[in-house]
């Protein structure tokens, strides 16, 4: 009588197929496909687009947003948001640059310091959000201003120039390993580790549970305060790392670094299939979302279309992504309702 006793049974019999189908249906595959198609079509018109050099540029360009997207995903999955990432990137980049200039610290410590700065700001965000129970949108918006302000005060109109920065540090920005830029390797490493961790550890599954159903999460005793706090700290830390990479990539920094990144990051994350109201989405999706948005930008250049179209297309794509997600949800709900109806003979 019940459809459900039959239908899932089929699934159980063929687990491998369903796993493959899941993979193909996944958002990540769709975005990957979109990127490939976009690159393919563009290279038909402009053969240089598929050159190693161009692909390097593509990946490096998307890397910072992708990196910020990883942290942002962790936060958004818990039904929060971190608007301070752009400011944190700017501040940590400048602090490290300034230390290089005046204190001549070793190159490796630059990364450490940047991440520490980020972690600290993330901890403040996390503390106010979880312990004071202030909506993260407001907390991180305020933090965006405060951090940007501190950045401005420290920078005070100065610029850190390439000459001040150790070569071993900037090498990360321009050197390759077997043709792959170091920058990309680092970011890809973070994405892979994060993707693995988000799937395989209890604490990270807790993040999804918290975002999916906060009340139920509290009911079964998930330590939401600690988990959300950790998500903010990680987001801050990665924003700090992104600051160091920004410095390595550009070899100079002023107080405009990272300005406006926050909304770009959220756009990338949402295009990548992370639900803005929490509970679902993957870091791989978020990273691919960043790559897709950057690919569009590069494709416009390659196709000699005015770069001015970039914003409009990115905005349209974001709207399409949200609408698509909504359509999927509605379709699933309708399917479920009619299946239940059938089972009740309605």
């Amino acid at each position: 009588m019940s459809t459900r006793t039959v239908e899932p049974a089929a699934d159980v019999d063929k687990p491998r197929t369903s796993r493959l189908v899941d993979l193909l249906r996944a958002r990540e595959a769709g975005i990957g496909l979109l990127i490939v198609v976009l690159v393919g079509l563009t290279s038909l018109d402009n053969h240089h687009f598929l050159s190693a050099n161009s692909i390097q540029q593509l990946l490096s360009g998307a890397a910072l947003i992708a990196l910020l997207g990883v942290g942002e995903t962790l936060v958004i999955v818990t039904r929060n948001v971190d608007l301070s990432v752009g400011s944190v990137l700017g501040l940590s980049a400048y602090i490290v640059g300034d230390l290089f200039k005046h204190e001549h610290i070793p190159a490796w410590s630059g990364f450490l310091i940047a991440m520490t700065v980020g972690a600290g700001i993330g901890a403040v965000n996390g503390f106010i959000t979880t312990v004071m129970r202030v909506p993260s949108l407001v907390v991180t918006l305020a933090m965006l201003y405060i951090v940007r302000g501190i950045d401005g005060v420290i920078v005070n109109g100065h610029i850190v120039n390439p000459t001040a920065i150790p070569h071993s540090f900037t090498a990360v920005g321009y050197q390759n390993l077997l043709g792959v830029p170091w920058l990309f390797i680092i970011v890809a490493g973070v994405v892979v580790v994060a993707a693995y961790a988000m799937r395989s550890y209890r604490a990270s599954r807790d993040l999804y549970a918290i975002g999916s159903n906060p009340a139920a999460a509290a009911l079964i005793g998930i330590p939401a305060t600690r988990r959300v706090f950790a998500a903010f700290v990680i987001s801050g830390t990665l924003a700090g790392l992104a600051g160091a990479l920004f410095l390595a990539l550009n070899a100079q920094v002023d107080n405009s670094a990272g300005q406006g990144y926050e909304l770009q990051v959220i756009a990338a994350v949402v295009v990548g299939g992370v639900a803005i109201f929490g509970g679902s989405g993957t870091v791989v999706g978020a990273a691919l979302g960043a790559v897709l948005l950057h690919t569009i930008q590069q494709a416009l250049v390659a196709l000699r279309i005015s770069a001015f179209w970039n914003g409009a297309i990115a905005g349209g794509l974001l709207l399409a992504a949200i609408a698509f997600d909504r359509w999927l949800t509605l379709r699933n709900a309708r399917k479920l309702a009619s299946a239940e109806g059938a089972h009740r003979n309605v």
Binding site: V134, M143, L144, Y145, V147, F308, G316, L318, R326
Partner: protein, 355 residues
């Protein structure tokens, strides 16, 4: 349920029952009072630190700096009131200016250009409203999308040029004077005067009309509002349209103020607009807030900016102050509750160790 032994329920203990509502009311009242105190503090601070602070030009330049932003904060208040947010306002401001610039560049008259810009504002707002109210998409994501989209359209229209550029006609002086001269006989900028008039209208609508009451109900409990026959979808749609329209209007004002347009006018201002509303006591969760609070918030942020500028404090430091104000505005109302919770935890810990 409160009384079990007798069949008639007891009269609810008046002081206890009152406390919830009174807390709410006095909370609201306290917030506006607090803002007023802060405003006086800022004025005294400004007068003490800057010899030119208590001059009429301060008021005028404050209007120039914040008037057009404050105008966008009014519809933002309404939108946030219903539990949504519109992050596309600054991009719409830019797009509106770009439309004016592009049409002017192509030989249109200034008034038809303004008209088209306002229509674009309506259409952009309608797009937001359609996606949020009709299709039920999350407004924060939608308006980040239209933020990018509108700014992108402005970029397509103008590119990197500034209008009027070389070879263009200049905007009519009679109009650009509106942007740079005070209203006759006063020291108010036109934008600030318009803001104040609009604020009065918005205040009446929010606090005394069925529409305003409906917005509060939607913000507090959307489902209950729907069951009371309030047209939730229609009202939300309307508010996004209003937000688009007034943002486009603010774009026209800014155009007149600058006597020129470029595609990136007002980039990032959306967050300032949100900050003004929230600092004014509008709850990000909807349903709570007053127009008076928003007006005081504008006055505080505007005069503080002026004072700091006159003291030659870097604009970056002003950012820090804006951020801290915003943070305090949400942390302070929560403070009591947080302390209560911590106390309860300590109490429970004690009784646990006793048990």
């Amino acid at each position: 349920m409160s009384d079990v032994m007798t069949p008639t329920p007891p009269k609810v203990d008046a002081p206890a029952a009152d406390s919830g509502a009174r807390r709410l009311w006095s909370g609201v009242a306290r917030w506006e009072t607090g803002l007023l105190v802060v405003l006086f503090g800022v004025l005294i601070f400004g007068a003490a630190e800057s010899s030119v602070f208590l001059t009429s030009s301060t008021l005028f330049f404050m209007g120039i700096n914040i008037g057009y932003i404050a105008i966008m904060a009014l519809p933002m208040t309404f939108v946030v009131m219903t539990g949504e947010i519109d992050l596309s306002v600054a991009s719409m401001l830019g797009l509106s200016g770009a439309v004016v610039g592009d049409l002017w560049h192509h030989g249109w008259g200034i008034w038809p250009a303004f008209g088209v810009a306002l229509l674009v504002g309506l259409a952009g707002g309608a797009l937001n409203g359609l996606l949020v109210a009709r299709f039920g998409l999350p407004s924060i994501a939608v308006t980040i999308g239209t933020l990018t989209l509108f700014r992108g359209l402005a970029e397509i229209l103008l590119g990197s040029v500034t209008v009027p550029g070389i070879g263009d006609r200049l905007f009519p002086v009679s109009l650009t004077n509106i942007g740079v001269l005070p209203v006759g006989g006063t020291e108010l900028s036109w934008s600030l005067l318009i803001f104040l008039i609009l604020a009065m209208v918005f205040g009446v609508v929010l606090h005394a009309t069925p529409l305003g009451r409906s917005m509060v109900a939607i913000g507090l409990q959307p489902e209950a509002a729907e069951f009371a026959g309030i047209r939730v979808t229609r009202i939300k749609f309307g508010l996004f349209v209003l937000s688009g329209l007034l943002s486009a209007f603010a774009g026209i004002l800014l155009t007149l103020q600058n006597s020129s347009v470029s595609y990136n006018a007002g980039v990032g201002l959306e967050l300032n607009v949100v900050a003004i509303a929230l600092f004014g006591g509008v709850s990000i969760f909807g349903g709570r807030g007053t127009i008076l609070g928003v007006v005081l918030s504008v006055a505080i942020i505007g005069s503080l900016q002026m004072a700091l500028t006159q003291m030659q404090v870097q604009p970056e430091k002003q950012n820090i102050i804006t951020g801290i104000l915003l943070l305090l505005s949400v942390v302070i109302p929560n403070g009591g509750e947080v302390i209560g919770r911590l106390r309860a935890r300590v109490r429970r810990g004690r009784s646990r160790s006793a048990a």
